[in-house]
């Protein structure tokens, strides 16, 4: 939908109907459209999540260090950086 919308044609929807009800297809389509719109907008605002992958509340500066400026899997460094940040706070090395 975001990168090659011409490919979402009648044949694509016909195939989708083999797996999902009309209600579910409308739900999926609206959900995807909504998220494409808002992800791009929020990307311009430079916000980062309030919480680390393990649920620790962090400020925007630390969150930026943990998550970086591009969407990544949490397993590709974010979990490790969150643990390091927690450890640094505990032993005072960042104080």
């Amino acid at each position: 939908m975001d990168t090659d919308p011409d490919k979402i044609d009648k044949a694509f929807y016909t195939q989708l109907k083999q797996h999902y009800s009309t209600e579910e297809i409308v739900e999926l389509g609206a959900f995807i459209g909504f998220n494409i719109g808002y992800h791009t907008w929020f990307g311009t605002l430079g916000f980062y999540p309030m919480f680390t992958p393990d649920g620790r509340l962090v400020d925007q500066e630390e969150s930026a260090r943990i998550y970086g400026d591009k969407p990544i899997s949490h397993t590709k460094g974010a979990i490790q950086r969150a643990k390091e940040g927690k450890q640094n706070k505990t032993d005072g090395s960042l104080e």
């Binding site: 209600e23 494409i36 907008w41």
Partner: protein, 175 residues
């Protein structure tokens, strides 16, 4: 045969949709067809209509400017359904097709638009074509024309309408 058949008007849950259908009839963006499509997922249908209506018809930013932005966005999303709709409220406020066309064209050098309007139109244009240009400097310039709540109103409006346009585009719901 449509890709997704609209729910017939007579089959819509009146408690959920009657007032929304009346609002759609008054504003015409979206029209009843959007409700009839989204009503397949009733919770979504109610919430999405409300968000679409409120983001367009309510707020501090000039409704006619948002109407031009919405139509310009449809030239990016290539959605003929939303691109064809026209707000009755904006028409009543005096918005003309000529001004819409100007807003969809080379507005940067068009003297009929103020610098604030040009910033808002650029915001919409860049968001889904060159989002990296919507940076701190761009927002700082925007703050010389609009309050932060107004910038949030504009950004949320642009994001929401663009998102719905790209979904409706795939359904090929041209009027």
């Amino acid at each position: 045969m449509a890709i997704i058949e609209p729910v017939p008007l007579g089959e819509l849950d009146k408690d959920k949709f009657q007032t929304r259908l009346e609002l759609a009839q008054q504003l015409m963006v979206p029209d009843a067809l959007f409700i009839q499509i989204m009503a397949h997922a009733p919770g979504y249908g109610e919430a999405l209509f409300d968000a679409m209506y409120q983001s367009h018809a309510i707020g501090n930013v000039d409704h006619s400017l948002k109407e031009i932005i919405r139509i310009r966005l449809s030239t990016i999303s290539k959605d003929s359904y939303f691109g064809t709709l026209r707000s009755k409220k904006a028409i009543d406020l005096g918005l003309t097709e000529a001004r819409i066309e100007a807003g969809c064209g080379n507005f940067e050098i068009d003297k009929q638009f103020s610098n604030a309007e040009k910033w808002a139109l650029t915001y919409a244009q860049l968001m889904y074509t060159e989002p990296t240009k919507v940076n701190t400097a761009f927002y700082n310039l925007g703050k010389t024309f609009y309050s932060e709540p107004e910038i949030m109103e504009l950004g949320a409006f642009i994001a929401f309408h663009y998102g719905m346009q790209i979904f409706m585009r795939t359904l090929k719901m041209a009027l």
